[in-house]
Symmetry: C2
Subunit: 321 residues, 2 copies
Amino acid sequence: MAVIIPLTEIRRALEGIDVLQAMEQGFVAYSAGRVVVPPVGELLFDDPAGDVHIKYGYIPGDEYFVIKVASGFYDNPRRGLPANSGLMLVFSQKTGELAAILLDEGHLTNVRTAAAGAVVAKHLAARPVSRIGILGAGVQARMQLEFLKPVTDCRDVLVWGRRADAVATYRTDMEAHGFRVEIAAAPGHVARACDLVVTATASHAPLLTAADLHPGLHVTAMGSDTADKNELAPDVLGRADLVVADSLAQCIERGEIHHAVRAGVLESQTVVELGRVLADPTRGRSSGHQITVADLTGVAVQDIQIATAVYRRVRGGVDAD
Amino acid sequence: MAVIIPLTEIRRALEGIDVLQAMEQGFVAYSAGRVVVPPVGELLFDDPAGDVHIKYGYIPGDEYFVIKVASGFYDNPRRGLPANSGLMLVFSQKTGELAAILLDEGHLTNVRTAAAGAVVAKHLAARPVSRIGILGAGVQARMQLEFLKPVTDCRDVLVWGRRADAVATYRTDMEAHGFRVEIAAAPGHVARACDLVVTATASHAPLLTAADLHPGLHVTAMGSDTADKNELAPDVLGRADLVVADSLAQCIERGEIHHAVRAGVLESQTVVELGRVLADPTRGRSSGHQITVADLTGVAVQDIQIATAVYRRVRGGVDAD
């Protein structure tokens, strides 16, 4: 019988897991071709607007395979519900049996997404970071910032968001987490005044253009995960000295690279996968003056890594009791 | 918080559900283009051999969408475990929230698969059926036969299976269910002696050829659901007067039709979808002498129909308490 693990227990397990390391190992394995990751399953809804992604796969020879369901229904907050929901399923690779249901309500997707942002910042941002820029004021805008704490000492933040009230709340909340937060009037101001920028919106129109870039800037675009979402104008990626993808196969179908390749300003073969940068740092940033862009669409290997880590931790705890 | 529905409760709910009707309505809606069914997600394992299918979709305007995971690990029985496992997830179309986890352990997949076989027999087999032929002695070989009870009065069965011990057990078990069961020495004997044949094996090589066919025969091939499984030689479909698919889109990628089309003996545009036969019986069998073949690969609409029916029944029961 499968173990059902509720969110409170998942949160407790996460405290004992080095999520950044699990993500790094996952990306390296993925880019080395050691992970089976079929194309993302997708359901799109119009009324109300929502999307559901099914990400799944396995590392051959590991004990488990993982299927993750994550939904985003963007009108939910108006109804007092979180926009994101979902669960992760852990199965035995040897018998196909369901081992665990992680009722994470989307939290593990948020954590692994934020952790991927931190991995990217750790390996691609120029040092030292003088100011962090955030576009968006939602869950990821918060978690990306929190997850940057272990990878930079910088606590100065410039934020832009579409809704003034949400941005004001963001400032209050993030200041309570030890950041000094200023509010920008436009996305371009953020890019111009910061050297590490994370875009964390569900925008369908570009927020930054090449005119907003400056030497030494790193941008992590993590908001767009479907073919029609878009945070960076194609010329941002065209101008960058280095463009990194979490998954090249996914990023030519969805996310920012997809738009830039279609616009003819970026050749997909110049894009480097994150796992290759981690395995060989010479493929990453080569100077403090380069402009680097990372496009994160979310890869099943992140779900595999975090779900198996949580399940092993919970199971270990059960065994130890 | 999602309702978690264990197998015992699912079995109880099924007693109050007209599964055949739910399948018929589902197939009609599917073939009328009223169901969103993305391509099947698939994971294949070598050591030990196993396959996992993720089927999902929704009927726009309905309350729910459904994601089903079903695994088959064919060495499991040697380890004392059932070959098939899985679960179904019911989510709200309005918020993306997980409404119910149906821990069916693969049972609902078995039920909806057997029910589809019964729907096919009801609408395509020549009347009256004098003898039912079964290839295989596994779970579906049993359930297909049980589900035929309401659609035919015939209780005479000829069965063939690869393993003599499994076939002997099959006979004993099915005789306890009110059938008279004989055992055949070869698959071809079954086709020649019966007028309604169900193939329910995981064979990777054809079991029946055109030489085994006779006027009036109907064959339902439900065992092959991947691109490499194969129960019927291409010339069986080439010779048939009518070939019906549960899903044309799926059957040109996997199952029997897939093999016959690739072999050049069947044109996919001559294949009729089951939902069209149900909506318009003139598209079905036109005489007692025709040879008809139905290829069932399993369609997400079946999972949608059965999962939502079970959840509504359980929820209704809860509401009524």
